[in-house]
Structure formats: structure tokens, C-alpha cells
């Protein structure tokens, strides 16, 4: 009997979060040994077309299961529908396809993944607890238009509203360390009374923390972020980073594959939102 | 004064009368084009040796082979008893051969000094550029060519074409050499500069340098050269001592037959029509304080404009053609004032302008003869915006025939034509628009005698047909044979106007120097 083929469609593998996730799936493939993994990433985060291309290529290659982290929650619906019609088991993970759009296209598809919004809210609340009501904060956003960036900003906003924080400014730094460093330095000049920063990912938080150090404000301004990449380990250790959110990316894709294989073997169809773990990781001082 | 650099030019060896260079059966092909097919000649140390021949005869190709730009396919070159096969311009220079190429090789946005010293820029002890020394050397070199009054820090882009040519010559002279090759150095010079150049060449010759002089002006050749080698169709026909021959012989050897004296053939019946162009009180930005310029051209008349380099002849034509703005004054065509905003308006009013710089403004070098011929008259060879290639080829073929163009195929790039033939394509481009007024700036620059005669007779017959022509030229004989009237400019002002019967070189030169 031939092993089932799993087509894994990731976002940009240049992003270490997805890179790590991919490593997790490779381990998983090896340890299970009963399926073949084909993984594809994209050139950059906005390269939606290459994800669609990847779906089409996988349909051509007649894979059995497609496991996909959509770069855009709406653009992927139609090609995935085509894949389902071709008899392929499709698992949507990491970023949920847009519910409204799914309905319009008559697509029933479960989502396996974390809740970015409540994750971000966890971080935001951690910051709010530290600052108290009325704390003045800024947000460093991810790529404008990117779904997880939007979700995370919503999560931060939830925390801000619930805990009466004051939002002084919000700008994108396109997920990038250097840009976050520049953008935040300038925000700090414009708003010297900033007390807290919410960064939509850890890479940007690193840039923010460098800017705080350069301005000599590392002690009195708190930073929270998202992702828990290894590089922020030392910053959590000494308190420069107040908190970040771990969504256990390493296991996320592997879990999704696991679920896909189960369905492929004739298990029950999935439905709704199968939430995966998220955890607030706090400074350990 | 003679620059010290020239005196050091010749590190003269034994002055025996031996041949220092001999070329035997040299052949060179460019793809299918047989540029050289058996060239033989030799150089005697210290002589001035002329190379003459029609456009495309292969003079420049030989020059480029001798100076290491091209490799030759077949034949032998012996330089000072050794086989000579330069593989780069540098190795040619190291063998003592310097050159001024026919095309400009200047660095437009660098200074005169930097251009002159470019081959070996002086360095300080620290290895940096020694600007002081560079400027000194450049000033010396500029003095030798009589341009001592121009700042050597001036950028080339600010110089006119003649001055650029002189800078090129200065650059070649700046370097020591045994053999100096000048490929049509006088083509862009006026009488005055030409004379200056000859004085320089005389001095160089005395210091033992062998000069190879390429020119279409036989008077120049007979003026300064010792021997002349005649090219025809990529072959050398013969080499003669100047004192044993005369211009008529040389011309007939060049073209392979005795040339009818078209030049002398002046039609006597002159019936000029109404005034085609009138210029009133024209003041241009180059000389905002000069008095306005006034002149007119009648239908069927050829008016020449003479003057020294920089006198402002080109600018007048460019102003009429709306290539530059005027400060004040009026231009009237057929008695009606016109305000051209751009060359397009001028072309629509059936003006045509053959510019002095065909490479930059006249031709699209990398496109075909046919394309260039139809460039200004594209509406004639197209239909509702669609090209009619058959018509276009026909048009190009017609004019090629009319102008005696030498070419391979109509689809060949203009760049593959020799200089003179390129000029004919420019003419074709404008004549195909059937203009009312044709303005020509140095129309026969770099054109061989035969073609020149053809061009003259074409221009004359155009005038006969009622076209008005303005010719700017630095060759007085050209103006005097061609024109019905000559306007003399000096320092941006009209200093005189001569009718045909009162044409004389002396008179014209006097007027030209009047405001200097």
C-alpha cells in the first residue's frame, strides 16, 4: 500500500516561526513514517499567488491531503474548494479562512489553529496589569492587510479597551527588526510619555528594545510581543521583554497533518474551530 | 610658442631615411563587409603622409588596425623591422603610435585637463591625482593648439564641436610618439584653426615624428604632405610623391575616372523668387547684448553663412528651427511671422535642418538606412499610423540612388556606413520631406570629393527647382562655389554680406575677424 502524500503549504519560510514549524513537521514525518511530506513556502508574505499556484500544483500532483496556512483568508477559498472537489482532504491551520467568505462560496472547512486575537489580548492584558489603568501605550503592527497582523492588533485593542489604556500611536514596521527600531525611536521622540509597547511579533520587539536601550528608557517602558522566538529568550530572562505569546508553532502543522491523516483514513470530518494551545510567556525575574 | 612637450615628442634615433612602418597586403572583413582587401603602403621616418580616398574606402579601418582597435585578418605589418600585431590600443601606444580618431573620444562631463591627460594621469608621491601637474600639462597642450585662453577646468560639454576636435588633437600631441595618425582632423575646423594645426604639424615633423594625415581636402594634402597614398574600395591604388602629382590626378585615381568639374559649373540664369525666409533683429541667449541679426533668403537662392568657430552660425539655425529659444526678434516665412514652439512646427512649415553633428542629432545609428531615410517623412510611408514597408523601402531606394549612396542592404544599420555615406542618409531624410527651406550646417563635413560634388549639384538643382537654402560652412571654397550670397558673422553679429561677384577669401576672412 502506498503511503499517503501530504502537501503542506506554508507562509514565508524566511519567517523563523514557519521555519520552525516546518522542522516540527519533518520530525513528525520521520517519527510516524507512514506518509510522505511535500512542503512549499512562499517568496514573501504577500505572495498570495504562489500559494494558489501551490494548491494547483498539488492538485496536479494528486496529493492526498493538503494542509494549508493561508496567506490571505479570502484568496485561498476558491482553489481549496477545487482541491476538495478533486477529492483531496484539506486542512486549514494557522490562519482561519474568512467565515463570511466561506459561507458565500459554500465551503465547509474546519480550522485548526490558535486564536491570534485572544493571544494578543493575553499579552496586552499582561502589559495593562503592569501599567495600571490609564497607561499610555503604542502598537507596532505587522504587515498592513495581513490577517494575523489584523487579528493581533484587534487583540491588543481589546486589552486596551478593557483596561482603559491610552493608545498614543500605532504604526506598521512590516514585521521587521530594523524598521521597528526606526519607527519606534521616532514614536518615542514624538511621545516621550510612552509607558508600554505592544509589538505584533518578537522580531519587531527586538528592534523596539534596542531603541529603548539607546534612549536610556529600557527600565521605565514595558514591552510585550508575540511568537516566543529563541532570540527573545535573554530578553525575557532579564525582564527587558515583559511577556510574549507562544502558540507552539513547532507542533501546529504537525497537529494539523495528524488530523488530516485521521480524516484520510476514514475518520470523522472535522468542523468548526479546533483551537490549538496558546500560552503567555512572562519575564522570569 | 611651442610647447616643451612637443620638443620631447621625438626621442629621435638615428635619422636614417629608412622606412619605419610598412604594410603589406592587409585585409580586414567585418562579417560580410570587406573593408580592406589588400592595402600596401609604407612610412618613411619624419615624413607627412596623406591617405586619401572616397568615403568608405577604408582609411579609418586602417587607422584602427594600426592603433590596436581592430585585429587584422590577413597581411603583414612591419614596424621598425619587427612584426607588428597590436592587441590593444595600449600596446599600440607603447609601440609609439598615437592617434586622433575620426569619431570623438572625449569624456563629456570631465574637464579639458582630465581629458588631455587621461592616458596617463599624473600622480603625486602619495599616489593621488596630481591636479597641479595635470593642469600644467593640459595648459601647455592647449597652448600648442592655440586654445590657451580656455580654462583647462572647463567641461567638454561646454565646448563647441571645433574646440572639442582641438582638444583631441592636444591630447594626442601631449603624448610622445613616433607616428601620429590624424583621421580627418580638419573636418570640424575652420580655416583659422586649420592653419594653426598646420603650423603645429610642421614643428612636429621637424622633431622627427612621422605624421599620417587623412583628409578629404586635397588642398590641405598638397599644402603639407610629402607623399600621398590613394585608397579605392578597400585597396591602395598607389603612393605618389606630392611634388610629382597634382590634385586632378589624385581625384581621378580616387574615383577611378576623371571627375567632371561639377564644382565649376555655375548656372548663369538666376531667377530668385519671393522671400522665403526673413530674420529680423534676432537676438539669441548666447549673445544677449549683440545687435539683432537681419537677413533674408529668397526662393531659389543659396545663402551661405561664413564665420569663425563660435561666431554663432549654428545658433542662428538652431533658433530658426526652434531648437533653442530666442530673446527677441522675428522670423518670417513667406512674409508671415511664425512662432515655432518646437522642431515639429518647423518641420510642419516645411523647414529642414541638416545639423552639424550627425551622430548625436542626425541619425539613429543602430537603425536601418530605410528607417533613417523615412524618419522625417514617415507620414508618406504610412497609412493611418500603419507602416507601409514597401513604400518605405522604395523611398529609401530612390534617395539612395539619387544621392549615390554606397551601401549593402537598405536594412543595414547606418552605423555600418562610412562617414560620408552617413551624411547622405541625413540628406535623404530631409529631402524626402520636400522642404521649402533647407538649412545645412557643415553639409559636407567628412564627405569625399566625389560625393561632395554630387551633393553640390543636388543642392544646386534643388535651388533651381525653387527651394531656398542656407548653408553654414567652415570651408570658404565650398561657400564660394555653392552660394549666391554669403553672410559673414563675427562674434554673433553680421559684419557683412557679399554678392557672388564680390566673393573673395580675403574679404570674407577680414569680415570674419572684424569683431574679434
Amino acid at each position: 500500500e502506498e503511503k499517503p502524500v501530504v502537501g503542506l503549504i506554508m507562509k514565508s519560510l524566511a519567517n523563523e516561526f514557519f521555519r520552525d514549524m516546518l522542522e516540527g513537521t519533518k520530525e513528525h514525518e520521520k517519527s510516524r513514517g507512514d506518509y510522505v511530506l511535500k512542503a512549499v513556502g512562499m517568496q514573501n508574505e504577500t505572495d498570495f499567488q504562489s500559494q494558489i499556484n501551490a494548491v494547483e500544483n498539488f492538485i496536479t500532483q494528486e496529493v492526498d491531503i493538503i494542509v494549508v496556512a493561508p496567506a490571505d483568508s479570502r484568496a485561498m477559498i476558491r482553489p481549496l474548494k477545487k482541491a476538495i472537489e478533486a477529492g483531496i482532504v484539506v486542512i486549514n491551520f494557522d490562519v482561519s479562512l474568512d467565515a463570511d467568505a466561506k459561507k458565500k462560496q459554500n465551503l465547509e472547512l474546519a480550522f485548526v489553529g490558535p486564536d491570534n486575537r485572544s493571544g494578543a489580548k493575553l499579552a496586552g492584558v499582561a502589559l495593562a496589569n503592569k501599567l495600571g489603568a490609564g497607561g499610555k501605550v503604542v502598537i507596532i503592527e505587522g504587515n498592513p492587510g495581513a490577517d494575523n497582523a489584523i487579528e493581533r492588533k484587534k487583540g491588543f485593542m481589546d486589552a486596551i479597551e478593557e483596561h482603559d489604556l491610552e493608545l498614543l500611536a500605532s504604526s506598521t514596521a512590516h514585521w521587521e527588526t530594523e524598521e521597528a527600531n526606526s519607527v519606534f525611536s521616532n514614536m518615542l521622540t514624538a511621545n516621550p510619555d510612552i509607558q508600554g509597547v505592544m509589538a505584533a511579533n518578537d522580531s519587531m520587539a527586538i528592534g523596539v528594545i534596542k531603541a529603548l536601550e539607546a534612549a536610556g528608557r529600557a527600565k521605565d517602558i514595558q514591552v510585550v510581543a508575540f511568537d516566543n522566538i529563541p532570540a527573545v529568550g535573554p530578553m525575557l530572562a532579564d525582564g527587558r521583554l515583559l511577556a510574549t505569546v507562544d502558540q507552539f508553532g513547532r507542533d501546529m502543522a504537525a497537529n494539523a497533518i495528524e488530523k488530516g491523516l485521521a480524516v484520510h483514513r476514514g475518520g470523522p470530518e472535522l468542523s468548526g474551530w479546533i483551537k490549538t494551545d496558546i500560552k503567555l510567556v512572562e519575564a522570569s525575574k | 610658442m611651442l610647447a616643451a612637450s612637443i620638443e620631447t615628442l621625438a626621442t629621435s634615433k638615428e635619422n636614417n631615411d629608412s622606412r619605419i612602418l610598412s604594410v603589406k597586403n592587409l585585409c580586414k572583413n567585418f562579417g560580410g563587409v570587406k573593408a580592406l582587401q589588400g592595402v600596401n603602403f609604407d612610412l618613411v621616418k619624419g615624413e607627412t603622409h596623406a591617405l586619401v580616398g572616397e568615403n568608405g574606402a577604408g582609411k579609418s579601418t586602417l587607422t584602427k588596425i594600426l592603433t590596436g582597435v581592430y585585429h587584422y585578418d590577413d597581411g603583414d605589418i612591419i614596424l621598425k623591422d619587427n612584426i607588428y600585431k597590436p592587441n590593444s590600443p595600449k600596446s599600440a601606444k607603447q609601440s609609439g603610435i598615437q592617434v586622433v580618431h575620426q569619431e570623438f573620444n572625449l569624456l563629456t562631463y570631465l574637464s579639458i585637463a582630465e581629458n588631455i591627460c587621461f592616458e596617463s594621469l599624473p600622480k603625486t608621491k602619495l599616489g593621488t591625482l596630481d591636479k597641479k601637474k595635470m593642469h600644467q600639462r593640459a595648459r601647455l597642450a592647449m597652448d600648442t593648439v592655440g586654445l590657451g585662453d580656455i580654462e583647462v577646468t572647463t567641461k567638454i560639454s561646454e565646448l563647441g564641436i571645433a574646440h572639442r576636435q582641438l582638444v583631441e588633437i592636444a591630447r594626442a600631441l601631449e603624448f610622445k610618439s613616433d607616428i601620429l595618425i590624424l583621421d580627418e582632423p580638419t573636418a570640424t575646423l575652420t580655416q583659422r584653426e586649420v592653419e594653426k594645426l598646420f603650423t603645429i604639424l610642421e614643428k612636429i615633423k621637424h622633431s622627427g615624428v612621422t605624421v599620417v594625415f587623412i583628409s578629404h581636402h586635397l588642398n590641405e594634402v598638397f599644402n603639407i604632405c610629402d607623399r600621398v597614398t590613394i585608397f579605392r574600395n578597400g585597396k591602395t591604388i598607389t603612393t605618389k610623391e606630392i611634388k610629382d602629382t597634382n590634385p586632378q590626378d589624385v581625384v581621378s585615381l580616387m574615383v577611378g575616372k576623371a571627375l567632371e568639374q561639377v564644382m565649376a559649373q555655375q548656372s548663369n540664369q538666376k531667377h530668385f523668387g519671393s522671400i522665403a525666409l526673413e530674420v529680423k533683429n534676432l537676438v539669441i541667449p548666447q549673445s544677449p547684448n549683440a545687435e539683432g541679426i537681419n537677413f533674408c533668403v529668397r526662393k531659389g537662392e543659396i545663402v551661405g553663412i561664413a564665420g569663425l568657430v563660435g561666431a554663432g552660425r549654428t545658433e542662428i539655425l538652431r533658433t530658426i528651427f526652434a531648437l533653442q529659444e530666442k530673446i527677441s526678434g522675428q522670423v518670417l516665412i513667406d512674409g508671415l511671422p511664425v512662432e515655432f514652439k518646437n522642431p515639429r512646427d518647423a518641420v510642419n512649415a516645411r523647414l529642414a535642418f541638416v545639423t552639424e553633428d550627425r551622430k548625436d542629432e542626425g541619425l539613429i545609428l543602430d537603425m536601418s538606412i530605410a528607417t533613417n531615410s523615412s524618419l522625417a517623412s514617415i507620414s508618406q510611408v504610412s497609412n493611418a499610423g500603419l507602416m507601409d514597408f514597401e513604400k518605405e523601402n522604395q523611398l529609401a531606394a530612390d534617395f539612395a540612388k539619387k544621392l549615390g549612396l554606397r551601401f549593402g542592404k537598405l536594412k543595414d544599420n547606418v552605423a555600418s556606413l562610412s562617414g560620408g555615406n552617413q551624411q547622405k542618409v541625413v540628406l535623404a531624410k530631409w529631402l524626402s520631406t520636400n522642404p521649402k527651406l533647407l538649412m545645412l550646417d557643415e553639409p559636407t563635413r567628412g564627405v569625399d570629393v566625389g560625393a561632395k560634388a554630387e551633393i553640390y549639384s543636388i543642392l544646386r538643382s534643388l535651388a533651381l527647382d525653387g527651394m531656398a537654402l542656407i548653408v553654414v560652412s567652415s570651408e570658404l571654397p565650398e561657400l564660394m562655389t555653392l552660394c549666391d550670397r554669403i553672410l559673414v558673422l563675427s562674434n554673433h553679429q553680421v559684419t557683412g554680406e557679399l554678392e557672388q561677384q564680390s566673393f573673395s577669401q580675403e574679404e570674407i576672412l577680414q569680415l570674419a575677424y572684424k569683431n574679434m
Partner: protein, 333 residues
């Protein structure tokens, strides 16, 4: 020696285009080599399905590259095409989702809106760079930012979706296995080829790329020809925007980031000179195929992303080096 004129022009003409085709096809050798390699090393490369995929995948790059061919032929460049695509796409998205319009009207208006938006951006690029004679590199870099900012602003950084079904169907429709959107692109190539090679306008484009001054002196309105070239490029970006929408069923303000480099690469690999005046849109077609086939084949090979990126870089370079040798061979003999 004085060669007699050959009057058998038709033959001459035919010969010329044959040679031109050979020259254009040159880069085709690199393409054939690629196709050969992938056919041997991967299982599905030649599957009809996969060929359909490749055609779909190169469509947008090809459309952009067709527009860029005009601009590059006049020795210009347009860095804004990716952003203009997004801008046109978002404008069309806004129009197509206006409430209360019936589907056909909405589609019609959206298409018009997209083309207008693209044309406008191109026109501005052209007017500014031609009027002041400024380097188009920097002007279109400015436009890159303006159009992207505009797209984000108009859409408030939200993806626009839920378009009429006919519209979405068009994006995935195919004719005898060939995607309709690719046929549209091919039609554009044909039109562009006709315009460039058979019309006065095309002649002027080549002329300007070779020697702008000479064309101006011959009495032609160089300014407007240049503006036209940029405008055409903008129009193509607008068309690409609509195709993007139809294919992906969304309008995204972050669509097309970095597309300009791929499109320029297609043009250059296709043999058009960045110095202007030389090249053809058929070469561009081949260039777009090389890029598309490469991207597709490397994925089929199952190489990891980073290797793929490196190999893509190497192949781009090798393709132009090979083309250089081919050109030398054809002109040298």
C-alpha cells in the same frame, strides 16, 4: 563595388523577420533546456494540468512585462507596476462591490475603473518624467510609494472580496485547457507586437530608444510618444489588476509587491536592452516563460525554498550569459 540596389523588397523583408525571429528565439534555447531538464527530472512537469498551471501562473507577470517592454524600449524603467496593479485592483474592488449594482454593470464598471486607475498612474509617470526630463527610475519609485499608499488608504488595508460569480468564473475559465486569462495576455502580446513592429508609433518608440534627439529633430512629438509608453505600461498594470482580481477573487492592497522586478527580469531575459531601442515583445514572452517554468519546475522538484531562490538567481544569470553567446554566434558569422 557600388552595390546595385536589391528591389525584391518583399523577400528581403521576409528574410529580415526570419532573422529577427531566430534572434528572439535565442533565449528560447535556454527555455527548451529548462523544459527538458524538468521533463526528465520531475514526474508531472508535462502533465496537461501542470501546463495549465504554468500558463495561469505566468499570466500576470507577462501582462506587466508587455507594458514594461514599451517603457524599457524608450530607455526608461517603471518600478511602480506592482503597486499600480494593487491600486487598480483595489479601485476595481471598491467599484465591483458597490451595493445595488447588477452583476454585469458592476463588472463592467470595475474593469473600466481598473484600466482608468492604471492608465492614470502611467500617465502621471510619463508626464512627470518626460516633461522635466527626469530619470524614470526615481519618478516611478515615487509612484511605487504613492500608489501603494493609495491602495492601502482606499481599502483601509482590508482585503476586498465577494465578487459576482461570473467574474470569478472568468478568472478560472479555460478554453481547450488553456486558461482564458492567459489567452488575454497572449492577445496583449500580439497587439503589442503589432503596434511595435507595424505602426509608426512603434517605429518612434524604437527611434526614441536609440536616439531621442534625432527623432525630435525630425519633427516628431517625442514628449507625447514617451508619455504614451508610460501610459501603456500603466494600462497594462491596470489590466493585470483586473486579472489578479478575477484569478484570486479578492482585491488586496498588498498585491503585487515586488512584481516589478520579476517583470523587468522577463523583459531583459527576453533580450530587450535596458539602454533602449533594441528588443521585442516576443522576447518578453519567452522571458516570462523562463521565469514561470523555473518557478514551477523547482517546486515540482521538491527543493526547499532557499535552494529554489538561489537556483532561480543562478538561472537568471545563466540565461543572459547563454543569450550573450548565442547573439555573438549569430552576429559573428
Amino acid at each position: 563595388m557600388q552595390s546595385e540596389m536589391k528591389i525584391d523588397m518583399p523577400a528581403q523583408h521576409k528574410k529580415m523577420s526570419l532573422k529577427a525571429i531566430v534572434r528572439d528565439a535565442g533565449i528560447g534555447i535556454a527555455l527548451l533546456v529548462l523544459i527538458l531538464i524538468f521533463s526528465i527530472t520531475t514526474e508531472h512537469f508535462l502533465a496537461p494540468n501542470n501546463i495549465t498551471n504554468i500558463l495561469t501562473q505566468i499570466t500576470i507577470n507577462l501582462i506587466l512585462a508587455v507594458g514594461l517592454t514599451f517603457v524599457i524600449l524608450i530607455a526608461g524603467i517603471d518600478l511602480s507596476v506592482g503597486s499600480v496593479l494593487a491600486f487598480a485592483c483595489v479601485v476595481a474592488g471598491k467599484v465591483i462591490t458597490i451595493e445595488g449594482l447588477d452583476a454585469n454593470t458592476a463588472i463592467f464598471l470595475a474593469v473600466i475603473a481598473s484600466l482608468l486607475a492604471g492608465t492614470l498612474c502611467g500617465l502621471l509617470n510619463g508626464l512627470i518624467s518626460a516633461y522635466w526630463g527626469l530619470p524614470s527610475f526615481i519618478i516611478t519609485l515615487g509612484m511605487l510609494n504613492i500608489a501603494r499608499g493609495g491602495a492601502l488608504h482606499i481599502s483601509e488595508a482590508q482585503t476586498i472580496y465577494s465578487f459576482p460569480e461570473q467574474f470569478n468564473d472568468f478568472g478560472s475559465a479555460s478554453l481547450f485547457g488553456i486558461p482564458v486569462v492567459f489567452l488575454v495576455a497572449l492577445l496583449l502580446v500580439g497587439i503589442a507586437g503589432f503596434v511595435l513592429h507595424k505602426t509608426v508609433f512603434g517605429r518612434m518608440i524604437y527611434g526614441i530608444g536609440n536616439n531621442e534627439e534625432a527623432v525630435r529633430l525630425a519633427g516628431h512629438p517625442v514628449f507625447w510618444y514617451k508619455v504614451m509608453a508610460y501610459t501603456i505600461c500603466g494600462l497594462m498594470a491596470g489590466i493585470a489588476g483586473i486579472v489578479y482580481m478575477a484569478r484570486l477573487n479578492i482585491s488586496s492592497p498588498i498585491a503585487g509587491i515586488g512584481f516589478e522586478l520579476n517583470a523587468i527580469a522577463a523583459v531583459i531575459i527576453g533580450g530587450t536592452s535596458l539602454m533602449g531601442g533594441r528588443g521585442s515583445v516576443y522576447g518578453t514572452l519567452l522571458g516570462a516563460f523562463i521565469i514561470g517554468v523555473l518557478a514551477n519546475g523547482l517546486i515540482l522538484l521538491g527543493l526547499n525554498d532557499f535552494m529554489r531562490q538561489m537556483i532561480t538567481g543562478v538561472v537568471i544569470i545563466v540565461a543572459v550569459v547563454l543569450d550573450h553567446y548565442r547573439e555573438k554566434m549569430t552576429t559573428g558569422s
